[in-house]
Subunit: 338 residues, 2 copies
DNA sequence: CGGTAACAGGAAAGCGCTTACCTCAACGCT
DNA sequence: AGCGTTGAGGTAAGCGCTTTCCTGTTACCG
């Protein structure tokens, strides 16, 4: 057993057939072959522990069978959930999924787009908020179209695009739902624990919140921080200190909401809080979080479906995924003792 | 711009040079080239938006530059954390990471091992508990050695292996820590919310718990369920119903511990509970979970380090990663009103 | 029984790169 | 002047597969 990998030629030689025949048998081609030879080749494959070189295969038959996925961080429950949906349908289509974590660094996004392009993936799904405006964003757009002109398909999730298929969660509407809920409970002084200002997700959710505020003739106190638990804790602490009169806060995602709960606990305060995304953790904290649910898995599924389905015509397809308010125990009418 | 992808030959033609020269320039080979030609080639690359075909490259220069990772499910916080560590060091070594979710299905593990093998990855890291005994396990072992004889390297995390490098979390010791903690607090009737009995992780942690029980002359009531929050809730409900005298429970991971908290809440009971893994959620539930901490990220880092470092000699290397008990508010002395 | 169609299998041309080897010219040396 | 060097670039042989022809058999038909 030499150090070299066994090749098709080795198998063919051992079975006393041509590489053509060996290839046909191994791939279950439609060409008819005697059982005799089939057996010999299969035996050789087993004995040599032959595993075909995927790169050579890709090169020879120039079909693309993998799909790439760009997410900020699969470890983040938000993206984990989306990724689950992506994987499900990709696997159902027999595609291999290559996941790339960009950690919200535009440079990494560019790098990965090229890398996936180089690997001849059939499609790329870009999940996650884009930036409101930046050179990187247009550069990214460039690379994406370059990929598309080679026959690759692109679908984006929660990122505005005028050229690619997109599936958009109802961030603005969800923000409105959260705001309306709080105002209808009678709260008049509400704070917002927002994510990074440059992200479109933050902007969209905030817009919905502001629309609700205007509809009720109120205004919001907004503090920005990272979309993390600790970010939420810090932002809430700041809100509590600077605006003691607040009776409710809206967090732009559940991680931040959990942080908000922690901040309130340390401050000995007890405001209503509404989260966003309805992550699994929402029902396990105390009080259980009222939250705006986004069907994340479905978001992923739809996106992958778009990416894998050839477009009917050239116009980019857009799908909107609705949001829904899930009421739990973290919000209550203003009259209740705070 | 035809539908076909631009190739090196296209670039060379457009720049009026040979493909050899083009290749050298693009890859920054050491061979000297006039600035004139370099400029022409680079211009052609830009104009054609040329991106080299990774498969052709892999085939030509037969070096392996990617590494594969097999995990049960990246969405699971436990594996997400490990994966983070794996990625960090892989990226530091300039390797591309291919993540494969096996969803604890042995068949999928086999499939992915072959797939990674076919893709000529430099190494494979298998993360996650193996099965106490099964045909699949030996079959898996077979494929792994097949991969290794072709020059690939393998490292496993938390899975016993006599042939590959391994990094082992202190599951048994951690179990002992959890048990000892409870017994030292005076509890005498403790239940265990365990994961699937067939997993080595369950077996190891349970072994530690039993060792602690014996050391204190006690016995444990064990119920098995899935390693999930819902599994933990169900198992705890069962425990509560069948053994009303229990005053404490040890959950074999934090997800189950969270489920245990939920079950106790619905049952109106209030026992001490100790979790395992010290996931981020541990500090955000009420009461905050006492838990056995395993440095998961480090586990991943060490494993990738082993996988990427050629072994000094042929003997498999084994690293042990210690566990530590983190005390929070979910455990208390028996004397306190339950 | 000659002719043809269906069959089994092989030869070889790529797929898009990298790289060992070769060529050609200009240069410097004795 | 003759010759070995060196510099700059090209030629072409693969890397390991797939697949399109192409060849030699065998079976079947009138």
């Amino acid at each position: 057993m030499g150090v070299g990998v066994a090749t098709l030629a080795d198998v063919a030689r051992r079975a006393g057939v041509s590489t053509a025949t060996a290839s046909r048998i191994i791939n279950g081609s439609s060409k008819p072959v005697t059982d005799e030879l089939r057996a010999r080749v299969l035996a050789a494959v087993a004995e040599l522990r032959y595993v075909p070189n995927a790169h050579a295969q890709m090169l020879a038959r120039s079909n693309r069978n993998a799909v790439g996925v760009l997410v900020h961080d699969v470890s983040d429950p938000y993206f984990a959930e989306i990724t689950r949906g992506l994987q499900r349908v990709a696997t159902a289509h027999g595609r291999l999924v290559i996941i790339c974590n960009t950690f919200r660094e535009p440079a990494r996004e560019l790098e990965y787009i090229d890398l996936l392009h180089a690997h001849q993936v059939a499609a790329i799904v870009v999940a996650g908020s884009g930036y409101l405006s930046s050179d990187d964003e247009t550069e990214l757009h460039d690379r994406m179209t370059a990929f598309e002109t080679t026959g690759g398909r692109i679908a984006v999730i929660g990122r505005h695009s005028h050229t690619s298929d997109a599936v958009l969660p109802a961030n603005e509407e969800g923000g409105y739902l959260a705001g309306a809920h709080l105002f209808e409970l009678g709260h008049t002084a509400v704070g917002v624990v927002a994510g990074p200002a440059a992200l479109t997700t933050t902007a969209d959710r905030l817009a919905g919140l502001h629309r609700a505020a205007e509809a009720h003739g109120r205004r919001l106190e907004v503090v920005h921080a990272d979309f993390t638990r600790d970010g939420g804790e810090a932002a809430t602490a700041k809100l509590l200190a600077e605006h003691p009169g607040l009776t409710a806060v809206a967090a732009l995602n559940d991680s931040m909401a959990v942080g908000a709960l922690a901040a309130m606990r340390s401050a000995g305060r007890n405001l209503s809080v509404v989260g966003f995304d309805d992550m699994p953790i929402a029902r396990d904290v105390t009080p259980a979080l009222t939250s705006v649910r986004l069907p994340l898995t479905q978001l992923g599924e739809r996106a992958m479906e778009l990416a894998l389905t050839p477009p009917a015509d050239s116009a980019p397809r857009v799908e909107h995924i609705p949001a829904e308010l899930i009421r739990r125990e973290s919000t209550w009418p203003l009259t209740r003792p705070s």
